[in-house]
Amino acid sequence: MNNTIRLFLIALLTVGFLTSDAHAQDVLVRNATVLTVTNGTLQNTDILIRDGIIAQIGSGLRAPRGAEDVDATGKFVMPGIIDAHAHIALSSVNEGTSPVTAEVSMEDVTNPYSLGIYRASAGGVTVSHIMHGSANVIGGQNETIKHRWGATDPDDIRFDGAPRTIKFALGENPTRVHGRRASGGSGAIVPATRMGVEQVLRSAFENGKRYMEAWDAYNAEASTNPRAVPPVWNERLEVMADILRGEILIHCHSYRADEIVMLTRVLGDYGVDRITFQHANEAFKVAPELAEFGAHASVFSDWWSYKFEVYYSTSYNAAILMRNGVVTSINSDSAELNRHLYHEAAKSQRYGGLTDDEALSMITINPAIQLGIQDRVGSIEIGKDGDIAIFEGHPLSIYTIPVLTYVDGVKVFDRENDADDMRVDVDPSAEVGQYEGQVTGRDHMHSHEEVADLMSFFQSVADVDLPHAHTVND
C-alpha cells in the first residue's frame, strides 16, 4: 500500500473516531430556569450532562474537563420536545396497495439527510415518531428517531431500545383509498365503510391469532417430534402476532368518536391494551371510554374542517382529554408545525386553561409514554438522556425563541452560530438557491391528508405549478 493511501486511511479512521466520540458529550448548563415537567420548575439551576446522560441537577455544579459550558442565565431549559406523529426523514410513506400491510416498515426508508430533522431541532424537537401513512387500515411499522443532525447512516438516528410501533388508520382515508378505488367501480375493495374497516381489523387479528397459535403448537411439538412440520412463514401475520404478544404499540389514525370506540372494542376482544389514537379529533366525545380503556390520544392543537370527519371537532379537545384523565400529546404531522410544537402546546392554555406543566407534558413526557420511551426521555431527571432545549423566554409564550438544542449532550442547533444553509446533502448539479415555495401546516392538512399520500405533499412543497385537487393557500 502506498504511503499516501495509508495516510488517507489513517485520516479517515481518525475522523471516524472523533465523530463517534462527539456522540457522547459532556455539557454543563448553568443558572437556568429548568422546566423539569415531572418535578416542577427549578430556578437558578445547573444541569450537567455526562456522556450524553443527565448526571446532575443542582446549583454550583462544576464542569468536568473538556465539558461544554453554557451560561443559561435568564434562559429556560426544558426536556427535548417529542413529536409523536411526524413524516420527516422518510423517503416514502404509504404502501397504499392493500388494506393490511403490516409487514412494511419505515425502518427501511429512514433518511438521515432530511433537512426536516434540522428544522425540527431548531424548534427544540429532539425525538420524532416517523410514521407510515394512513392509506391502509393496518399500515406499516413506524420508527422512532433522535434528531442526530449530521449523521449519514440511517442506523445512527434510530432511537435504540424504543419499542416497535405500527400505524393503523380508520375512517375516510382507508375507505377512500380502497373502497372508492376506481371511483367505487370494479377496482374497489373492502373497506368502503366504517363497517368494512372493523371487519378488516377483525380478520387481521383473527388470522394473526391463529398463526401465532399454529406456531406455538408447532414449537411445542417440535421439542419432542423432530418431524413436526412448521406453519408457512408469513411476515404480515408475524407482525400481527407480535401485536397480540404486546410487543408492538398501536398508533391509530382516527377521527370520529364511534370508530375510536370500535377499535377499543376489537382490541379488548383480542387482549391488546396499548393503543394511542392519533389525530383523534373527536376523542373528546368519548374521553371517559378512553380513560377507562387506558387508551392514549395524540392530537392537533386546533386543526379542523379540512375534511368532513373533522368538521364537528373543537380546539378544546386536548384540554377535555387531559381533564378526563387521558394521557394526551400534541403532535405536528407536518414539517412546519413540528418547528413550533411549544406554541401548539401553548394553545391549550387559550383553549381550556391548562397549566404550564400540563401544557408542557403534552409535548414531552406524554408522547414519551405513548412511544414507550418515558424511562429515557420526556423530562429533566438524573439518568435520562441529555436531550434538552434551551429557550429565550418561557417556551409557552408567543415571544419565546428556541436558541440551543442538544441530543444526547450533542449540540444539534445553535441559533447564534449555525450557518444559514444547514444541508448535509447537496446535489452538486442542482441550481444554487432554487425557489421551492414555503410550506405551512395548512398545505399539509389540505393536500397530503386529503389524498393520504405524502407524494402529493412533496409536490405541493416544491412544484407550485402542478395542479392540485383543489387550490390551497395560494
Binding site: 387559550r350 415571544y399 444541508r423 395560494d474
Partner: protein
Amino acid sequence: MNLFMTLVLALTTFLPQQAQQQDDKARQGTYAITNARIETVANGTIENGTVVIEGDRIIAVGENVAIPESARVIDGSGLHIYPGMIDSGTSLGLTEVGSVAETNDTREIGDINPHMDALTAVNPNAIAIPVTRVSGVTTVIAEPSGGLLPGTAAMINLFGYTAEQMTAGAKSVIVQFPAEPSGDRPWWAQEGPDRRQERYRNNMAKLNEVFDRAVLYNQIVSAYEADPTGKERPVYAPEMDALRPVLSGEVSLMVKVNAADDIVKAIAWVQEREFPNVVFSGVNEGWRVADRLAEAGIPVLVGPILATPTRSSDRYDRAYANAGLLSEAGVSVALRSGESENVRQLPFNAGFAATYGMGKEAALRAVTLGPAEIFGIDADYGSIEVGKKANLFVSDGDPFETSTNILALFIDGFNVPIDSRHLDLYQEFLNRDEGRLQPVEILPADN
C-alpha cells in the same frame, strides 16, 4: 377554574345588564367600557380610560369622558381594549369543509375571472366565522383563488346576516402573477423544464393580453359613455368591465407573487402598466428584494408567517422574519394568515412576526391600522378613535399571547357573544356524563 367558567364569570360580572336579558343576541346600543387599558394603535396607549360606543360607532375615547346615562357600563378594570384585528388574506366564508367540493366556492371555471365577486359567495353563517371572531379577528379579506385572475376579493366584517351587513367596503381584484420556473425538473415533476417555461411564457402573454384588452375596452366604453350619439353600443364583456375600476384606481389590484425574481418582474410589470392602486400579496421572499419594494412604494400583504423557508439553503426562520425585514426596509406591511377555518391563527402569526424582528407595535399595526390604510378604509377601521366603527375587543392581556382570553367583542357596534361551536362542544363534553347515574359498559363483541 376552567376557561368556560372564567368566561361565564367574567361576562356575568362585567356585563350585568346583558346577563339579565338571558339571551345570546348580538345587540347594538350604547356601551361604555371603563377603566381599561386602551391600545388605540393610532394614538398610543391610554393606561386607564373609557371607550363609549353608540350604534355602530365609537363616540368617545379617553381618560376622562362623559358616560351617557343610557350606556351599559362594562367595568374593564385590569382588562385591555384593542381594535378588532384584520386578516389581509383568507378564504373564510367561501369554504366550509376543505375536502368536500360542494362546500367550496373559491374557484370558478376559467382563468380570467375578475368579475367573480367573493362577497357574493361568502356564507354569513359559516361555522368558522364565530370560531374566528372570538379570537379578536373582526374583519378579513375573503379571496377567490385559482387561475390567472381568480376574482375579486372582499373585505368583510365577521358579523352579519347578509353581504350588505358584512361588507367592510374594500374590494380588490386578484392577479396570480405567473411564477417563472427555475432550475432542473424536480424528480416528482411531471413536466420537463421546456414545457414549464412554455407554459410560463403563455401565461405572461395571456396576462398582458387581458390588460391590453381591458385598456382598449375601457377607452371604447368610456367614449361611448361620454357621448353615445352615432356610436354602436359596445358589447358587454363582464371580465373587462370588472377591470375598469382597477384601471381607474378605484379598486386595488392585488398581485399574488412570492419568489424574489418574480417580485422584481411584478414590480416592473405594474410600473410599466401604471396601475394606480396596487398591493402585493404572499411575498414569501419579499425580504430578498425589500429595498426594491420600498423604492416602488408598493404595500405588501405578507403571510402566512408560520411557514418553512422558501429554499432549502435558507436560514430556518426566514418566513418568521420576512415581515419584520420588509417593515424595517420601509415597506408598508399588513399580515395575512392564508387560512380558511383557522383564521384564528392570525394573532399567532403576528406574534411570530413580532418575535422574529418586527416588534410588537409594528406587528399590531400590521393587523389593524396597516391593512385599513392599505385598503383605504382607515376612516372607518383599524384603530380606536372617535368616529370609527366600533370593531374592538376586550381581553385579559396581549391578544398575541396564547394564554390570553378574549372576553368581549364588538363588531359594527354589536356586542357579539363569545360563543362558537368549539366552545359549545367544550361546554357539552368537558364533563360529559355528569348527569348520568350509571356508567355505560362497552358492548361485548357478539352484540
